[in-house]
């Protein structure tokens, strides 16, 4: 059985990949296009179920940490408590119209979103800004070489070019345009590389060279 399953998996993956690929190129065959769409829909459903499975896994992991009293169990407990509260409130508010009219329930839902989730994440972004700046300031103290100086100079020019001073300083505006060209060229190269990598990975999967679904 250990030999049969990988083979079966490979056959399924390769066959379905070829069908989807051919469905892109051969649009004149409705059956093929329809079968390709069916397979894609199944994949979306499976992805949606995967999110639920992920949520369930998250719940069980933190629950296990609490029962085993591992380090950080307190945080897990907070997570699970708010997880259950959010789940119950959102479920009630959206699928229980009678209950949803209970005063303060919708506001409590908005507080969970606007008062906790968004400010926390935004604050993290703000801390990231301070941390990055601090690192940049101390970069030359840890390492002084050409690469470091060049990196620090590029960052400084991008900041300047994207800042309000660009409009005030024509030189900086031109410098900002030059830096944008550099970034765009770099991004293109990255995107081309990503495209080639994606193509190669797809071919390898279709040819059975790579088997991310298991097996050697």
């Amino acid at each position: 059985m250990k030999r049969i399953f990988p083979v079966i998996n490979a056959v399924i993956a390769i066959s379905f990949g070829l069908i989807v690929l051919l469905g892109y190129f051969i649009t004149s065959v409705p059956a093929l296009t329809g079968f390709r769409a069916l397979l894609l829909q199944w994949s979306v459903l499976l992805a949606g179920m995967a999110v639920l499975v992920g949520v369930g896994n998250l719940f069980s992991v933190h629950m296990q940490k609490i029962t085993q009293k591992k380090p950080g169990a307190l945080y897990s407990m907070v997570l699970l408590v708010f997880f259950l509260i959010t789940f119950v409130i959102v479920l009630v508010v959206n699928y229980a119209p009678a209950v949803a009219g209970f005063p303060g329930l919708i506001d409590f839902q908005n507080i969970l979103l606007n008062g906790i989730m968004v400010p926390v994440e935004v604050s993290l972004m703000a801390l990231l800004t301070v941390t990055l700046l601090y690192s940049t300031v101390r970069l030359l103290r840890w390492r002084i070489d050409l690469k470091t100086i060049l990196f620090l100079a590029t960052a400084l020019l991008v900041l300047i070019s994207t800042g309000p001073l660009t409009a005030q300083l024509p030189l900086m505006s031109n410098l900002g345009g030059f830096i944008q060209i550099l970034s765009t060229g770099g991004a293109r190269g990255i995107l081309i590389g990503v495209a080639l990598g994606t193509l190669t990975t797809g071919l390898r999967i279709l040819f059975g060279a790579d088997r991310p679904y298991g097996g050697k």
């Binding site: 979103l113 994440e121 301070v130 030359l140 103290r141 002084i144 400084l156 309000p164 765009t184 995107l191």
Partner: protein, 1008 residues
């Protein structure tokens, strides 16, 4: 209580102890110095045979002494060759006996007789008495009396009874086994002719012992015994006959052939007239050659020449004291004085026929026996004795008849030797040695030496003395030779001599003792054979005893077989007194004896012990440590000497098993070679100073490698935490101050950017109530930026009265669109503008599957056709009933802060849009990655608004003030603050680095 000092440990021991209580060394063998014990692993030292003299028992030393004394006296042709033989064998303990001449110790009688002490000494004068006849020989001397009373004491008593009440016998038998006793008797008969009464002893030893001997030894014993019986009457005329029976040497075993040859050499002196008489008897008693084994027949023939040349002894055997008891001559000697007649008749009743006839045959020889056996007394009686050989021929077998005929001439001692010599010399069948034997002149007086002098009577027991006294005194007594004392002065027979009391006499000796009264002139009644005696043997004894009884009688009376027994024994001594016995002794020891026989040697006599020991337990009573010294001398030293190492530590005395009593025979367990303590080697290295220095250097190098190098730490210029707070504080001030003041310090970005213009135009070109798909794929963390960018776009769309459908590939995207729509409605409400109600936009929810989901959604947007609140969204009420594909949407606006998400939407919806504008609202960090799609040709993205600057520019394009302009000063101030911090920080770092370099240089200069 006397103490015995141990020779080994020098510690005193009680006299009663036999073995040292401290070290286990035997204490009682004082006459013998034991060899030093060779311990296991010890390298034995090769010693000269002469050095082993002290290790020999007394009797052996007596033999050696006898040789030493006899050597100069009697030149013996065969003797010089004998030591050479012995020298070849390092193990021969007798090899060096001839070298030692200063020892004078007692020798066992039987060996003394073999050693030929008598012949070694010059024949003493007639008046010389033996100085010190052996005690045991004295006892044997009394055996002549038992010979006479053999009828009273059955011969079987001593022959087959080993009773406890016979200590003398026991002691004697312990020393010598029966078969060897018989052999000894044979040799005694050969080597001790001067003894007047050998008949009893020899016959007693020979015949009874034959019962326990192997056949061939029985024959061997019987061979000489038969001549004994027939020796006295053997005339010289008959001597050739046995010579004719001499076998060829090829029939004999090797060693016996040598024995024959060796014994032949001493025979030459046996041609003395004294010993010539019994010689015919020897051959006469021999059975026919066909009855005997050839070799044994030859053996008998070999012995015959000993007697043949002998001549009648000039001295009466009766004059010889006890020492003659062992010799047949001694037996014949009293026969002349014994008046007991009719012994043959009784013997004939008991004996088997042939033996009876044999007795009858030998009976005539009893009278001449004295002449034969005792050289001193061999003359008159023997010659006058009739030879009644007639009855023998009636029943005897032919060979015995011939034997009787042969024995008849022995009765004529007057002329035996010449005739014998003539016959022998003339015989063609004679071997060379015998021819030489016959050619040599005999030495007559040699036999006389074996007779004891009257002085010996002092040491004789009473019974033996009586026997001596019973002998006719008128006969001239030959002076006892000095060798006689040596020959019989051994301790073994002293023990027998000590049995002067009838109570102490063992049975077998009792028979001998009981014959003492027979020495009285009165004829003793022939003792009837005992009930337990074998008939034939008792008869034989009677036959043997009868001559003894009839010893005093005239020679004319018929003699018993004893006389015949005595006769053959006599010749050998007759030839031995001076040279014959010595040569025979030498011949015996010069030959290569078989292993079994060479290993035999009687133990050193210990009379006291022997009398105490019980019969039948002789072997058990052997002291385990009493290893005879001569046995030690026989140890294979040569084989041990090769490579053996001494180990003095092992002094273990074996306590059990066949090696009991031996010391250091087996290695102890602790000295097993495999367990030997290994040799200690010094572990200290022998190094010189150079090597030591190099080793030290290497050790230092290795030690330095093990040491960890100190890591150069960067000095903390200042504390890091305040720097963090300072940076945070600077940014906070830079952001908060513009926002709090509301100043428009920095001008808004221009809306003239192409991407913003294109975006604005695409939105501007949307028809009224066009269905626009808005994808909210940004995270709450980016809400601060994305809301400021997406707000002006959504506001513009609301202005355009577009129907909005929200979808998100992120779970939190749904919350973001609600959040932004709520914020726009709030702003629009604050601005007194129309707000968007729930009927103007729909939320399609979460689109899972990333690229696949986008692909499916692009092909069929209705996959998400059900609103979780309002049900079906693709109804006419919502205005989305015409939407069946993605291309049915007038525009697709993707709001994302993730370039990958934007890239997926661009890539997966490009075909599905079918020319419909794809607009991108992205964060500043995603703009560089999306911009290539915007700047591509054809454009995959028709318009793009990125970052706060794009939002502020889009606000300016729409002429709708929003939060982007508000945050623009804060954003600008924060950017400048950050830029300044980076610059200042960079410069400070460079300065610090330069200072550190300078400090290091200064330090190096200072150090330099």
């Amino acid at each position: 209580m006397a103490a015995i000092v141990c020779p080994t440990c020098n510690k005193p021991n009680p006299d009663a102890l036999d073995v040292c209580q401290f070290c286990g060394t035997p204490l009682k063998n004082r006459g013998t110095e034991p060899l030093p014990t060779i311990r296991p692993g010890e390298m034995p030292v090769k010693q000269q045979t002469s050095e082993l003299e002290n290790t020999l028992p007394a009797w052996l030393r007596d033999i050696r002494k006898g040789d030493g004394e006899s050597a100069p006296v009697t030149p013996q042709p065969a003797k010089p060759e004998t030591p050479k033989k012995k020298d070849d064998s390092p193990l021969d303990f007798l090899a060096g006996l001839s070298q030692i001449k200063d020892e004078d110790e007692t020798v066992p009688d039987w060996l003394a007789s073999l050693g030929g002490n008598a012949p070694s000494e010059p024949p003493p004068a007639a008046g010389v008495q033996p100085q010190e006849p052996a005690d045991w020989l004295a006892g044997l001397k009394a055996d002549s009396a038992p010979q006479a009373t053999a009828s009273e004491q059955p011969a079987v008593d001593w022959a087959f009874k080993n009773d406890a009440d016979k200590p003398g016998q026991q002691a004697f038998e312990e020393e010598t086994p029966d078969w060897l006793t018989a052999l000894k008797a044979q040799d005694t008969s050969v080597n001790a002719p001067a003894q007047p009464k050998p008949a009893e002893s020899s016959s007693a030893d020979a015949f009874p012992s034959s019962g326990s001997l192997p056949d061939w030894l029985n024959d061997l014993g019987g061979g000489p015994a038969a001549p004994v019986a027939s020796a006295p009457p053997a005339p010289a005329v008959q001597t050739p006959s046995p010579v004719d029976d001499l076998p060829s040497d090829a029939d004999l075993p090797g060693w016996l052939s040598d024995l024959a040859q060796d014994s032949a050499a001493p025979v030459k002196p046996a041609a003395q007239p004294a010993s010539a008489a019994p010689t015919p008897a020897l051959g006469a008693d021999l059975p026919a050659a066909g009855d005997f084994p050839d070799w044994l027949a030859d053996l008998g023939k070999e012995n015959m020449p000993l007697a043949q040349p002998s001549q009648p002894a000039p001295v009466k055997p009766s004059a010889q004291p006890a020492p003659a008891a062992f010799t047949p001559a001694a037996a014949s000697a009293p026969s002349t004085s014994s008046p007991v007649p009719a012994a043959p008749a009784q013997a004939g009743q008991v004996l088997p026929d042939w033996l009876a006839d044999l007795g009858k045959e030998s009976s005539p020889s009893a009278q001449p026996a004295p002449a034969v056996s005792t050289p001193t007394a061999a003359s008159a009686p023997s010659t006058s004795s009739p030879v009644p050989a007639a009855p023998a021929g009636q029943v005897l077998p032919d060979w015995l008849a011939d034997l009787g005929k042969e024995s008849l001439p022995s009765a004529q001692p007057s002329q035996p030797a010449p005739v014998a010599s003539q016959d022998l010399s003339s015989g063609d069948n004679l071997p060379e040695w015998l021819t030489g034997l016959t050619s040599e002149p005999p030495k007559a007086p040699a036999v006389e030496a074996s007779f004891g002098s009257p002085a010996n009577d002092e040491t004789l027991p009473a019974w033996l003395e009586s026997a001596v006294e019973a002998k006719p005194p008128e006969k001239p007594v030959a002076p006892p030779p000095s060798t006689a004392k040596k020959a019989f002065g051994t301790g073994a027979l002293k023990e027998l001599a000590a049995l002067d009391q009838p109570d102490q006499v063992p049975d077998w000796m009792a028979g001998l003792v009981s014959t003492t009264p027979a020495k009285t002139p009165e004829p003793a009644a022939p003792a009837a054979p005992g009930a337990d005696a074998f008939d034939w043997l008792s008869g034989l004894n009677q036959a043997g005893a009868s001559p003894a009884v009839t010893e005093p009688k005239p020679a004319g009376q018929p003699e018993s077989a004893v006389g015949k027994q005595a006769a053959p024994e006599t010749p050998t001594p007759a030839s031995s007194p001076d040279s014959g016995s010595a040569q025979s002794m030498d011949s015996i020891f010069s030959m290569e004896m078989p292993d079994w026989l060479s290993g035999f040697t009687p133990s050193e006599p210990e009379p006291a012990k022997a009398t105490e020991e019980q019969p039948g337990t002789s072997t058990d009573n052997l002291s385990p440590a009493d290893l005879p010294s001569w046995v030690q001398a026989m140890r294979p030293i040569e084989s041990v000497m090769s490579g053996a190492q001494s180990d003095d530590e092992d002094q273990t005395v074996e306590k059990e098993g066949p090696l009991a009593g031996l010391r250091s025979v087996l290695p102890g367990q602790a000295n097993v070679p495999g367990q030997r303590k290994p040799k200690a080697y010094s572990i200290k290295l022998q190094v010189d100073t150079t090597q030591m220095a190099q080793a030290t250097l290497l050790e230092n190098l290795i030690a330095s490698e093990a040491e960890s190098r100190p890591v150069s730490t960067i000095k903390q210029v200042f504390n890091i935490r305040p720097l963090r707070w300072m940076i945070a504080l600077v940014l906070l001030v830079a952001v908060l101050i513009p926002a709090m003041l509301g100043l428009q310090f920095f001008p808004l970005p221009a809306s003239s950017d192409v991407e913003i213009t294109n975006f604005y135009d695409q939105v501007k070109q949307l028809p009224d109530a066009a269905a626009v798909l808005m994808v909210f794929d940004y995270q709450p963390g980016s809400a601060g930026e994305m809301e400021q960018v997406a707000g002006p776009v959504i506001d513009h769309l609301m202005t355009q009265n577009a129907r909005l459908a929200f979808v998100s590939t992120s779970p939190t995207g749904v919350l973001m669109n609600e959040r932004i729509m709520a914020a726009q409605n709030q702003r629009r409400a604050a601005a007194s503008e129309s707000t968007y109600g729930q009927d103007q936009y729909v939320d399609l929810g979460y689109l899972p599957g990333d690229a696949a989901g986008i692909q499916v959604f692009a092909e069929n947007p209705r996959i998400l056709g059900t609103d979780y609140q309002d049900g079906d969204l693709w109804t006419p009420e919502t205005g989305f009933d015409q939407i069946h594909a993605l291309s049915d949407f007038k525009a697709v606006i993707v709001l994302t802060d993730n370039p990958d998400t934007g890239r997926m939407w661009i890539e997966q919806t490009s075909q599905a849009l079918k020319g419909k504008p794809l607009l991108m609202v992205v964060s500043a960090q995603a703009a560089p990655m999306i911009r290539p799609y915007y700047e591509s040709s054809p454009k995959q993205v028709q318009g793009m608004v990125s970052g706060l600057a794009g939002g502020a520019a889009y606000e300016q394009a729409t002429q709708q003030p929003g939060n982007a302009a508000v945050y623009w000063d804060s954003y600008g101030a924060g950017m400048i603050a950050a830029e300044m911090l980076i610059v200042v920080g960079g410069v400070w770092a460079l300065v610090q680095h330069m200072r550190m370099r300078r400090a290091e240089q200064n330090q190096e200069e200072d150090e330099a």
